[in-house]
């Protein structure tokens, strides 16, 4: 082992110990509520078509970009409350908050919607913060973040109207939406509180249910804490016709850009019997960053992709 590597691994040892503690805490939190831990495959024949997520190929299959489709097939078969921590793979995603292989926590609750799932998230993070010795005052990168419940919520429409001067629900512009999210919206979030930004344009949520009575808004919510994007929640779409239509739209855009995709027919078939439910994907590495005061994802994973 090179000296550099042994020094690097020695430096992050306390962070990796925190990581192990957080992962045990996540399991305890869900097991205490009688959630079933499931374990779906990492190598799969089809993934959800998403324009901006590039999978790795594994022979003619894919490395999973998210366990969502298989977990929803379990829900469709009658499994009610399930969770999983899975390694996921997304090609090209590398930065201070990204590694192409990362850990994702997903959980789903039958009969719930995204509001319930956001409350779960508030409780989970509070539980883990307590366990790590912070209580409701979490210290991250020299700032104190007040985790007292409930966390402030803002809709996408309110945030963009106020800080970017336009309404993406009325007139959607994908490029402008993403640029403004990074340059105008996230920098306005309070640094001393978490922020939940919710009710996205339906173009931004191919697997989320539309808000009853508001056909242009999807029930999707993102949680930001300390500048980190931590979690993405949905009221899950369980209308197979609507799901088919959304995937078709997405695939036609992808095909124009020359990206290959495989129609996930077993998933579409399954959601015919999927109950109403809410679900979420949490970046475990980022959650650990937050709880052990790490500025970069490289401090909470032993072997980032470019050091392998």
């Amino acid at each position: 082992m090179s000296l550099d590597e042994s020094r690097r691994l020695a430096n992050i040892k306390n962070k990796l110990e925190c990581r192990a503690k957080v992962i045990a805490g996540i399991r305890a939190f869900f097991n205490n509520q009688n959630f079933l831990e499931v374990d779906t495959p990492i190598r799969v024949p089809a993934i959800a078509p998403e324009q901006f997520i590039t999978p790795y190929l594994s022979e003619n299959w894919f490395l999973s970009t998210s366990p969502e489709l298989q977990m929803k097939r379990l829900l469709a078969a009658g499994y009610k409350n399930i969770y999983q921590m899975a390694h996921c793979f997304r090609s090209g995603e590398r930065g201070r908050h990204h590694n192409p292989e990362f850990s994702m926590l997903e959980w789903y609750r039958a009969g719930a919607d995204y509001n319930q799932i956001i409350r779960d998230t508030e409780e989970l993070v509070s539980y883990l913060s307590e366990m790590c010795g912070f209580g409701s005052q979490l210290k991250y990168q020299n700032k104190v973040i007040d985790l007292s419940l409930p966390w402030p919520r803002i809709t996408v429409r309110e945030a963009y109207t106020q800080w970017a001067g336009w309404d993406p629900i009325a007139h959607f512009d994908g490029l402008r939406f993403d640029d403004d999210m990074v340059d105008k919206i996230i920098p306005h979030f309070a640094t001393d509180r978490p922020t939940i930004i919710m009710d996205y344009p339906q173009e931004c949520a191919a697997l989320a249910r539309l808000k009853p009575g508001q056909k242009d808004v999807a029930e999707r919510a993102e949680t930001f804490i300390g500048g980190l994007e931590i979690a993405n929640a949905y009221s899950e779409l369980n209308d197979p016709d609507e799901q088919r239509k959304r995937f078709k739209d997405e695939i036609s855009v992808m095909q124009k850009a020359g990206k290959a995709c495989i129609w996930p027919d077993k998933f579409i078939e399954a959601i015919k019997t999927m109950p109403e439910c809410g679900g979420i994907a949490v970046g475990v590495d980022r959650l650990v960053m937050l709880l052990c005061d790490a500025a970069s994802i490289d401090e909470v994973i032993a072997f980032p992709s470019d050091l392998l």
Binding site: F52, H98, E229
Partner: protein, 186 residues
Amino acid sequence: MNIEEVTKNTKILIDNVPMSVETVEFVKPGKGRAIYKFRLRNLFSGNVLDITYHSGEKVEETSVTVHEMQYLFQEGDNYIFMDNDSFEQMPMTKTQVGNQGGFLKEGTPVIIMMWNDRPIDLQLPKIVELKVIETSASLKGATITAQMKEGKLETGMIVGVPSFVKDGDIIRVDTRTGNYIERVGK
């Protein structure tokens, strides 16, 4: 090249001007497109430019090569350098070299970046040693402060030196600031 492949120190061409990538920040909000924020340095002017790209976009890569050379002499409006490996002589214009010319004496080691067989950037050692040939004792009315006076170097450049520095002294000078560091000999 694809934007995903650009890393720190990649050299790219924008409007036919070679730029060096100083920093790359990767951000990807939610399920949106990846955004790459680059800080670029113009290799002609040294100016810094911040620019944002999105996944799927492409940039033109350029091949900039780095050569160790040494300064030989001045000829008309050109400074002439010699490549330490090939012994080839390479001229750079006074405009390209700019104020850095004031630190060059015969034998000064430098690093020169070349693009399309054309020198585009000169890097000096951080510190050079030069002889003072004339101080403000002989330069008229040239006192800067009570402790500092002007000293003319063998290259013709004038720098501030402490009052104890005499003609013929060798001093060390910081090439980034032009500041006197210390006297090293006579």
